[in-house]
Subunit: 85 residues, 2 copies
């Protein structure tokens, strides 16, 4: 059974991860990313990679899982930013 | 002394936190947030609050510290998005 602390971590992780979906959808639809900061998503991608490693080291499943999915979405926004400017 | 795992967590936390600064600066300067997703920053704010609580429960200083500073910056972007549209 999953304990309640891990469950809370998974809720937090799900929210912060899911939050990137509306930005992916918005940028994909509008074909415009002028107001989106390139540096934000560059630095965020790098930071998330380090969080994944940290998650493995402290053995926190919520930290690992949330950051792997977040990385995919943040990297998608970064690519859309580079393509659409 | 701080251990190397905590140090790595702090590096990850510093990067993901600092990443929001360029978006704050960009939106403040351009007075435009058209391409920034309101839903992204709304959901992200809520998720970060839950991460802060989770950080206290697993006693992870990097999770607590990074998310408190991130919340301030993400909330600032949210306010700028609401003001400048």
């Amino acid at each position: 059974m999953i304990d309640s602390i891990t469950l809370l971590g998974l809720v937090g992780g799900t929210l912060t991860t899911v939050s990137f979906v509306p930005q992916v959808v918005k940028t994909w639809r509008s074909r415009s990313a002028k107001d989106v900061s390139l540096w934000m998503f560059l630095i965020l991608s790098l930071g998330i990679v380090i969080w994944i490693i940290y998650g493995f080291l402290i053995d926190s499943f919520p930290v690992i899982a949330a950051n792997i999915v977040s990385f995919i979405l943040v990297f998608a926004i970064l690519m859309l930013k580079i393509v659409f400017r």
